[in-house]
Symmetry: C2
Subunit: 310 residues, 2 copies
């Protein structure tokens, strides 16, 4: 199972962090933007090239200390197909460098359409007998509102191609409770969704106890994180909301088990924009600033966890 590979990398690096690659143009140092726009003009292609140069530098600086990256599809789609081409290039480059790649796409649909998404992001497609891997991530975030018809098409690919998914369960945003906290026969909607993750995961168990079906649970709701960790013993968590959105390491620690496993914590802006916060830093050293922030975050997280082991 793909979740096994993620766990092994987390243990190897003693770091349960995933670096979000959500590259807005504002986050990118001027020298990289200039280089991109000089080569491709003030175009979508130019913007996409700036994203690529930025990502490449970050991946180079993080790949030996951070086990995973999570490109957010929206920030690539925003620059059209030219942006999607850079999403693909980023995924390939990060995987070459040994990183586990989670595409944050929150995709959802049913039957053959969900199969098409699964093939796009985690699988292969056949064209006249030739086989291609369109985006080629290790895992994909998905939305389970449509029920099993939306998830089953992914389980097959998880098993056959050693991939994983993360289903939205309890998201980190302030309004997540409008639907997710409402009660169904005494159980919150997010708990019902969590239970479904455990069930779906039975079809794709992992050797360290966590299935290929993970869940997104926000760092901003530590009580729910704790409660879900206890109730969903086979479901690995992807935890957004640490840092910028207000989730602290102490709360995040509630999402982990007694082996220091059970969750991978995302940080996007704090890592990508670390260069803006270091006084007097030349922007050319943006990637080293990102590395320093990633090391600081590792310290912060592991200080609140038992030593991480399989």
């Amino acid at each position: 199972m793909s979740m096994d590979r993620l766990l092994e990398k987390i243990v190897e690096m003693q770091n349960p962090t995933v670096a979000g690659l959500d590259p807005k143009l504002d986050y990118i140092p001027e020298f990289l933007r200039r280089q991109a726009f000089e080569a491709y003009g003030n175009t979508l292609e130019g913007a996409a090239e700036a994203l690529w140069l930025f990502n490449q530098g970050l991946i180079d600086a993080l790949c030996d200390i951070v086990p995973a990256v999570k490109p957010q599809a929206a920030y690539y789609e925003m620059y059209g197909w030219q942006g999607m081409r850079v999403l693909e290039r980023t995924i390939r480059y990060a995987r070459q460098k040994g990183m586990f790649v989670i595409t944050d796409g929150k995709r959802n649909d049913i039957g053959p359409t969900m199969q098409a998404y699964a093939a796009a992001h985690l699988g292969e497609v056949a064209v006249e007998g030739e086989s291609f891997e369109p985006f080629g991530a290790d895992a994909l975030t998905v939305n389970g509102y449509l029920g099993s018809d939306g998830i089953n098409p992914l389980l097959d690919i998880c098993v056959k191609r050693d991939k994983g998914i993360f289903v939205l369960v309890k998201t980190s945003n302030p309004s997540s409770g409008e639907l997710q906290d409402r009660l169904i026969e005494g159980k919150a909607v997010y708990e019902v969704m969590g239970d479904m993750c455990e069930q779906w995961g039975e079809a794709a168990p992992g050797k360290y106890g966590y299935s290929a079906v993970g869940a997104v649970v926000g760092a901003t709701y530590p009580q729910q994180l704790k409660e879900l960790r206890e109730k969903l013993p086979h479901t690995f968590f992807l935890v957004p909301g640490y840092g910028a959105q207000g989730g602290g390491a102490q709360g995040v620690a509630l999402g982990f088990d007694e082996r220091g496993l059970g969750a991978v914590v995302n940080s996007s802006r704090a890592i990508m924009c670390a260069w803006k916060k270091e006084e007097g830093l030349a922007e050319e050293h943006y990637a080293q600033a990102a590395r320093r922030e990633a090391l600081r975050m590792r310290e912060d997280l592991t200080a609140h966890l038992p030593s991480i082991r399989l």
Copy 2:
């Protein structure tokens, strides 16, 4: 409001149909595939070109009798960025031909990330002072599981740029009830989501009574369609599941109001693959077969509706 433009087109053509453009390679006649693969090889680019040629023929044959098309993003993403380039090209072409374009992406996220999706599919992005329209559809399907933080970023674009959204409420698939039919204080999850659509729509009202916030409600659940039509007087419906998935015109009619308005009914496979069903038809005439099926569907739907008027 964008929903107004859709309503006007439906009345003009006396046809509440949207043609789904979900072009699997299997659906595409051999002569088009050959043309594409001879030009671009057995590659993702070749597959994307086949999709484009197929779509172009369908749009030409349908644009004076069908008000809208609905490309399903998954079938384009499946062929990588090359496929996404054809999604963009298809949208532009259909709009040039006067059609209303609904991108079926079921996108969902929060805050700035949802803004990025909104800009990608319905808005513009700025690159060094130049402005670009990355995909440029008229409306987008979205998933409301994350609550208002996921929908508010779209409302602004709906009002400013005359666009619309369709939120998943009650989907057409067999397992949609696993979550959507569960009861929250006596109300099904899909009703709670429907109520939120009415509320979100208050920020973007339309001149014919329907707001820019529509809902996806499956043809396969006629009772829910009827009930939601009564309870959600300002929410326009996008209705999948007619034909291939088992929804009949009589049931679908329950989603309409006394003006013969209130819903647009999707047909994908039946239109795209009509050429396979006509005995003795040369495949070169696939688009004319699609047109005949679209006319048949118009007859079938309007036979069960009051005459359509604003």
